[in-house]
Symmetry: C2
Subunit: 239 residues, 2 copies
Amino acid sequence: MNVLIVYAHPEPQSFNGALKDLAVSELTTLGHQVKVSDLYAMNFKAVADCDDFVRLQNEDFLKYAVEQKHAVKTNGFSKDIQEEQEKLLWADFVIFQFPLWWYSVPAILKGWFDRVFAPGFIYSRDMRYDTGGLKGRKAMLTTTTGSPKHAYTPYGMDGDIYEKILYHINHGMLYFSGMESVEPFIAWTPSHDENDRKRYLEEYKERLYHLSEVPSIPYHPTSHYDEDHQLKMEYRKEK
Amino acid sequence: MNVLIVYAHPEPQSFNGALKDLAVSELTTLGHQVKVSDLYAMNFKAVADCDDFVRLQNEDFLKYAVEQKHAVKTNGFSKDIQEEQEKLLWADFVIFQFPLWWYSVPAILKGWFDRVFAPGFIYSRDMRYDTGGLKGRKAMLTTTTGSPKHAYTPYGMDGDIYEKILYHINHGMLYFSGMESVEPFIAWTPSHDENDRKRYLEEYKERLYHLSEVPSIPYHPTSHYDEDHQLKMEYRKEK
């Protein structure tokens, strides 16, 4: 497979860095092609603005999404955005490696989504979720937390990690783009214990070995929704 | 009241800009003190890194949260972070004005949370949620969406706006900091219709007039959780 790792951590010696390094070496050993977007090392521009376009359709009023659609048609993105979009098209599998900061991705990675995931490229009126522009690819989050696992259970203090915390990323960013979002790899509070870190690296190695078999998160395809974007009755479970 | 508006949109003429401008003029007319952090106009640094500190506790290994705690104790934050923290301490009420991009805040605003919401200032082991560092203040999201309201219902295609989408912001960022998170003001797809925009501005004016009466989101206080961070039995509702 062609695997793209989008990696966001300011410290190369961090545990996130170790997980990224392990993925590069293991996946390469297993015969996969691997590319890394090391956002901090690239000094990746996080903030979406008018400089993201070679030329503007409207110089007097920046509608970012309109300029993005224009840039898709005219090949008019700044070079850094274009390169990331090309990596996405090259990839069969995308790993997002980051620490969970404020229950979401670090700003530099959020900016990667804001800028690279352009309408016309990723989605349009009839192209989203299972019909999104990156259809046929898979994506997985590999993340580290500051709170322990039990804080993220359905009755946990921080909120259910799948339904409340990672949903906006797994469903809202990855699945929206057409990628199949697979079960995340989560290292809980790895900063606290050297033995935990060793165990997580072993577990991650195992995960990488079986990467193509990691179960997808069973989100509904768009065909399960009616014309008002409501889940059809036959697909509803008792809550 | 002292009201801080943290505003994140690249285009001053946008509808987000109009909502921000309306808030400034209305709240001032009503006798409140108003400050605005216009993140794009300030060219606010989005990316958390070692430049956020006057001096580093550890030059060889950046642990961002550790440096943040050190900076709180030594008054060692970069000037832009320090100024935002001072505005937060000054404020009784904080409005976050932004377009919902990829089911979250724009990167420039995410970076504001990553950098300004420092441990030791906002939270510690025994100081979070209702006991967080910004206790006694209220916060409200004012946002605009690209999908219609019905896509964000419990059975909607994009996911319940309160439980699945805004939770990581309202609960994970605002409430975590100690602020009382009140019901958000949401303008659904305002880019589509001039009449909608007029109506939303009227509704927002009304909201601003009654700002101190906007209901808080009924999140559980930390005392409702046991020592394993689980919601105590007596506070659970049938799901």
